[in-house]
């Protein structure tokens, strides 16, 4: 693409004393793109976001927003973005409504109609004092403030933590609306179905490094499908095929039930083999993102070959996915 990316992070490093929070992070969000930002606890997501907001100073590497330097041009850049932290703390003696107005005014004027709409959709009472809001309601105050602003970029760090499912749906809707209006979004989240619903691309980081990034479809391609079939002949030959994992058999009506996971790139040969064995029935579950994330987060995917740490594992997973060599 030729347009300046909304977010461009390259080889970003940041340490806190001995903790290396970011270790050569790369991340790009194109204009109008909704980017998911995933990673296990302590991976460095919030740190990356704080660097982007100019709240933390990077040790090295570049962090740019709309082509401007995230640290040096912070104030100018912030005119074009809105931020929602994962744990919102509000001013004790301000009501929610006052906080929303105040935050809006620091950028420009507050659109009363939009504020009222948002308050209604999020079912938020703006007259309460900050202390009396529940966790989810504090979160809503920040969300209403962010969505009521007319911005080019939304930076959201676990914005839905504490929201009930209904409110989460409202949130998803507003993100979609913002995306439709051309706003870029960086969404850090642990809620996979939320990411699946709204994100165009996903970046997974671990130990401060990006271990995977691409569109959701691309990522799905890297994972495995779960196959269950009933065949009449002895299926043990399937076990030796490339890309087959967790192979298991059980006797079933009229033959043998066989279940296994298969790398998506290797589905073809396995299917012809199964057909040759006299196929009675077949179900193939689509690859779940969950599995992909599990693999990157903690190597707990059953059948994953190695239990190395993040970077190595990813390399092997990727190699396996694309080449399918064994």
């Amino acid at each position: 693409m030729t347009a300046t990316p909304a977010i461009e992070i390259h080889d970003l490093r940041k340490s806190f004393g001995r903790v290396q929070a970011l270790d050569g992070l790369d991340l790009t969000v194109q204009p109008g793109e909704v980017a998911g930002f995933l990673g296990p606890n302590g991976a460095g997501k919030s740190t990356a976001i704080r660097v982007l907001l100019g709240l933390l100073r990077a040790d090295s590497g570049t962090a740019r927003l709309f082509g401007g330097d995230a640290w040096r041009d912070a104030v100018e850049l912030h005119r074009r973005l809105a931020y929602v932290p994962g744990d919102v703390s509000l001013w004790p003696n301000l009501t929610g409504g006052e906080a929303i107005d105040f935050l809006g005014r620091l950028r420009g004027t507050v659109d009363k109609r939009r504020k009222a709409d948002l308050l209604e959709r999020f079912e938020l009472d703006p007259t309460k004092k900050a202390r009396t809001y529940s966790k989810g309601n504090r979160q809503k105050v920040a969300l209403v403030a962010a969505f009521s602003m007319d911005v080019d970029l939304l930076i959201l760090d676990e914005p839905t933590s504490g929201l009930d499912p209904l409110m989460e749906a409202v949130f998803t809707e507003y993100v979609r609306e913002a995306a439709a209006a051309g706003t870029s979004v960086l969404l850090s989240s642990h809620i996979l179905h939320e990411v699946e619903k709204v994100c165009d691309t996903v970046t997974i980081i671990r130990n401060g490094t990006s271990v995977e990034s691409g569109t959701l479809d691309e990522l799905r391609h890297l994972t495995r499908s779960n196959v269950t079939a009933v065949v009449s002949d002895d299926p043990s030959g399937v076990r030796g095929l490339a890309g087959v994992h967790n192979f298991a058999t059980a006797p079933a009506d009229g033959g043998t039930r066989v279940t296994f996971d298969i790398d998506n790139a290797q589905v073809g040969p396995a299917m012809s083999q199964l057909t040759a064995l006299g196929l009675h029935s077949l179900t193939a579950a689509p690859p779940s993102l969950e599995e992909l994330f599990m693999r990157h987060y903690g190597d707990v995917l059953p059948g994953a070959e190695s239990a190395d740490d993040g970077a190595d594992d990813t390399a092997s997973a990727a190699a396996q996915g694309t080449a399918g060599a064994r």
């Binding site: 100073r57 912030h78 703390s89 001013w91 003696n93 409504g97 006052e98 906080a99 935050l103 920040a142």
Partner: protein, 553 residues
């Protein structure tokens, strides 16, 4: 079948269950606060010991002169009911003058301790974690009271032994214990008030305020009672400070007034427990009212927000200071008259207040009053500059700085609000005293002299603010080190002349650069220098804050 299996699985709560886990919490609190509590202990013990040694060094004649001052209204307010004033020995002086201050220090410690371990914990939701563990409802409060008792007991015992030792065993051990135990119990009354306050309000800050206000009230009652009548009138007996003083340590010791403190503490604790069972976790008894749905038009900048956050604290402080200094002003002629006659044969007095010439003595005395006023304002500046740090750690600064607000604008807003409030408080103090003095017909020194005092002290106050801000910007962990300068300034300002400190040592205190006498013309070079130091510190603060990482929990 399932019913049978389930029935015994739910144990019935036993009577003691609201207190279970108290022991573990006590250990945890002592561990967590070991440094904080040690510093308090050492400071109070050092104060007692130092006071004893310093008074002893004055000699009997100077002590007798001191006794005269203690009969003036100001002396009574700052000191006590005047037991043994005719034979003013070191012990009598400590009992008469020290108790008010020791109870203040221990009272502040007690209130802060209670609030810190109960309401503040609840506010931060840390204690949710604790309470979710097998820990009873009353356990945190009871553990806070137990630890408070332990600390006060340790302080009382060590202090009594220190007094006994420091006086070369001249002060009877029983009286020493009477003094320290009485003061400790009186202070614990304020801790118990804080326990009740923590049930009533939702915010730790409010509870602290109530606890300290209780001390203020106790001081007013005691002072009024003691001024009405030597050795106290009925009014004095409504004040915990009075209970400690009425033990007449070193004069004619009696122990029964401690019973008043003990009963008051028990009653307050029972009241606290009663209220605690009637409120929700995290809630107070006074429900927070709803507010407006839209912000007022004025709330549109970090400056407006900072003011909004500080205005009530500022308002109450200004009111309190105005009343206090106005009252002091009305008492001035009386104090001065008695003071001058007392100073005639008192070298210590002459050293502190500059001589026996009535005008010189008056100006010296007024300067000493202004020192108190200025230090109170400096303390306000330091406390309020800490609000910026609180905003940062709570993550609220982060939200603003993620908007189009520069760091300098945000931090600058805080500094401007604190700086202006501090200067206004100084003005309030100075002119309130002037108004009080004029009210009772004391026209000298005139308004111009007061004005000079006001602006010169204001410049010095900005140095304290500058240092507080610079420390916060560059080394946030050591931001509270600025209190050392305040304490140092107090010691140098009060006792510098007596101790004959070297020049260089005195120069560290910003107040030392101000004219010594009240309303004396300031030296231009000194004032420009002070102003420059303040400006440099504030500049450094803004610069440092722009360059560092933001911290949030």
């Amino acid at each position: 079948m399932t019913a049978v299996a389930l029935a015994p699985a739910v144990p019935r709560p036993s009577f003691g269950s609201t207190l279970s886990g108290t022991g573990r919490l006590v250990r945890f609190m002592l561990r967590r606060d070991r440094v904080r509590l040690s510093v308090w202990t050492l400071s109070v013990v050092a104060f007692y010991a130092y006071f004893a040694v310093a008074l002893d060094a004055m000699g009997p004649e100077a002590l007798a002169g001191r006794a005269l001052v203690m009969e003036t209204p100001a002396g009574i307010v700052m000191g006590g009911p005047g037991y043994g004033i005719d034979n003013y020995t070191v012990g009598v002086a400590i009992a008469n003058e020290g108790i008010t201050w020791v109870v203040l220090a221990l009272g502040i410690m007690s209130v802060l301790h209670v609030v810190r371990h109960t309401r503040a914990e609840e506010e931060s939701s840390r204690s949710e974690l604790v309470r979710a563990a097998p820990v009873g409802r009353h356990a945190p409060a009871v553990a806070a009271v137990i630890t408070l008792f332990v600390v006060n007991a340790v302080i009382a015992v060590v202090s009594a032994l220190a007094l006994y030792g420091a006086s070369g065993e001249a002060m009877p051990l029983a009286d020493s214990f009477g003094l320290t135990v009485g003061s400790g119990l009186a202070a614990m009354v304020f801790g118990a008030v804080a326990v009740v306050a923590c049930q009533i309000t939702e915010h730790g800050r409010g509870a602290t305020g109530i606890g300290l206000a209780a001390y203020g009230l106790a001081l007013v009652l005691r002072s009024a009672g003691d001024i009405q009548e030597r050795h106290g009138s009925l009014l004095s007996w409504f004040s915990p400070i009075g209970w400690a003083q009425q033990m007449r340590a070193f004069v004619d010791l009696r122990w029964w007034p401690t019973a008043l403190s003990v009963v008051a503490i028990l009653v307050l604790l029972v009241l606290g427990a009663f209220l605690a069972s009637r409120r929700d976790f995290g809630g107070g008894l006074v429900a927070t009212r709803g507010g407006r749905a839209d912000a007022p038009a004025s709330l549109r900048s970090p400056l407006a927000l900072a003011w909004r956050q500080q205005r009530s604290a500022f308002g109450w402080t200004a009111l309190g200071m105005a009343l206090m200094w106005y009252a002091s002003g009305t008492l001035l002629p009386e104090i001065l008259e008695m003071g001058v006659s007392g100073a005639e044969d008192n070298e210590m007095f002459q050293a502190v207040f500059g001589g026996t010439d009535p005008a010189v003595f008056r100006d010296g005395f007024l300067s000493a009053m202004m020192l108190f006023a200025a230090l109170a304002c400096a303390a306000y500046a330091i406390v309020m500059s800490g609000r910026a740090k609180a905003e940062e750690t709570a993550g609220r600064a982060e939200v603003l700085l993620a908007l189009a607000v520069s760091r300098s604008r945000w931090f600058g807003a805080h500094l401007v609000v604190v700086g202006l409030s501090t200067v206004v408080l100084m003005a309030v103090s100075v002119y309130a005293m002037w108004a009080g003095a004029v009210q009772v017909g004391m026209d000298e020194p005139g308004l111009a002299a007061y004005t000079d005092v006001f602006w010169t002290y204001s410049v010095a106050l900005l140095v304290y603010l500058g240092l507080a801000a610079a420390l916060y910007a560059w080394v946030p962990r050591f931001a509270s080190a600025v209190w050392l300068l305040l304490v140092y300034s107090f010691v140098v300002g009060m006792f510098g002349a007596v101790f004959d400190l070297p020049e260089g040592a005195e120069a560290i205190s910003p107040l030392n650069w101000l004219p010594a006498g009240f309303g004396e013309a300031p030296e231009t070079a000194s004032m420009v220098g002070l102003g420059a130091v303040a400006a440099v510190l504030l500049g450094l603060a803004l610069l440092g804050f722009r360059w560092r990482d933001l911290q949030s929990s």
